[in-house]
Amino acid sequence: MQLPRTVKMQTRGVNIFYGETQAIKGVDLDIYDKTVTAFIGPSGCGKSTFLRALNRMNDTIEACRVKGDIQLDGYNVYGKGVDPVEVRRRVGMVFQKSNPFPKSIFENVAFGLRIAGMKDKDEVAQRVEESLKGAALWDELKDRLLESALGLSGGQQQRLCIARTLAVRPDVILMDEPTSALDPIATARIEELLRELKQKYTIVIVTHSMQQAARVSDSTAFFYMGELIEYGDTETMFTRPSQKKTEEYITGRFG
């Protein structure tokens, strides 16, 4: 059907708890390199919790405990001595609500580079341009780089956040409902961007829109009550899923 795929991230027996409550139960999942993987499932199914575990975003939540094995290129993301900041550089994240800083467009994109200690002005400028191009924003914004990012439209702000993520040259980009606050055209632009980004990056997207999962992803994982119910090629998942629960969810029978 297709060429053998390289596993970029692998999870085995992942359990996640919020205090006493178990949010994720024994999830084994392979995320393939340079593909788009969609996580779907009803609210509270654990998909966002699981997504955030992939780049240790849950570390900041005190009551949250992550057990099991999560690997990036064969290395344990939660291993001893692994710097979570480095994990988050390699596994970037874009959120539901675009969150540009109250700074210029240029500084928003350069932010991660400055944190990382990049001083060379030309190098920073070159990286900002590369990132804005990567997020399909360069042509629109190249003459407005010093304007405030807060003056951009919602769709542009979200693509700016993607550019900001790209600036530190990640391997994997996690997106948590990146278009749920956008209109259909801005959504279509982001979806088109995903198609381009997956040439270079591995993308994992949580979405409440099943049509979006169907349109943009190569693989789809269906979560329900903390369990991974079914994972497979998106085409199969939306035409003939093997699990009854998946069939009921995607056809809108619950959730």
């Binding site: 049509q211 939306f238 809108g252 029978r253």
Partner: protein, 226 residues
């Protein structure tokens, strides 16, 4: 595998309405086959006309089902089993409409043969064959109502007997025409009738194959995918 009912009652109602319309067409097909065969056996021209009248309703139903399925695809964007159901509806309606056409063909030949007085000898097993084909259709529709893939698979087996009788009637018709070249027209009519009935069995098979696709998500047509 029975699914929960749909969260959207309106969509659930549309799915039921579409299924109901198809089943009504299926029932009418069965009736048309029975009338056409009776028209032949009893040399009853009136029954043959009833078949033709029923076919006009079939044609309207076909267009209505296509319209309903297209609307569902456009407005509901169904996936999974609902998508397979919409695709199945569009395919099954074509087979049902063709069965109606074959019943009309049968009725037309019945009218022509009625003028002859007695039926030619090779028609002996034609009624039996027609009942087998009609039963195949019945069983295919039952499997559709019950969404039962095993029942649908049994329909595929039943087609062998219909094909066997078809061969027999065809050979009988050839012998009949050879023996009396002046009866070639009637012999052709009989062999054509057998062909129509054989096609009805094929359409019933197609419907059963679509039911397997609907329920199990596998395409078993033409020996299935490798």
């Amino acid at each position: 595998m029975a699914l929960l009912s749909h969260t959207s009652h309106e969509f659930e109602a549309e799915l039921r309405q579409l299924k109901g319309r198809l089943l009504a067409m299926g029932g009418r097909c069965e009736q048309m086959i029975i009338w056409a065969v009776s028209a032949l056996e009893e040399q009853n021209v009136q029954l043959a006309e009833d078949v033709m009248r029923a076919d006009r309703q079939m044609n309207e139903d076909e267009m209505a089902v296509d319209e309903m399925a297209m609307r569902m695809l456009a407005l509901r964007q169904p996936v999974g089993r609902d998508l397979r159901f919409a695709i199945t509806a569009v395919k099954v309606v074509t087979d049902l409409e063709r069965i109606g056409d074959e019943a009309v063909n049968l009725a037309e030949r019945a009218s022509e043969l009625a003028a002859r007085g007695s039926l030619p000898a090779p028609t002996k097993r034609l009624s039996e064959m027609a009942m087998l084909s009609k039963n195949m259709l019945r069983h295919a529709l039952d499997s559709f109502v019950e969404e039962d893939a095993d029942k649908a698979r049994q329909v595929l087996e039943e087609d062998d007997e219909v094909d066997a009788i078809y061969g027999e009637i065809l050979r009988g018709s050839i012998a009949f025409m050879r023996a009396d070249p002046s009866a070639i027209e009637d012999g052709m009519r009989v062999s054509n009738c057998a062909k129509y009935v054989e096609r009805i069995g094929d359409h019933a098979t197609n419907i059963a194959e679509m039911v397997i696709f609907l329920v199990d998500g596998v395409d078993v047509r033409h020996g299935g995918k490798t």
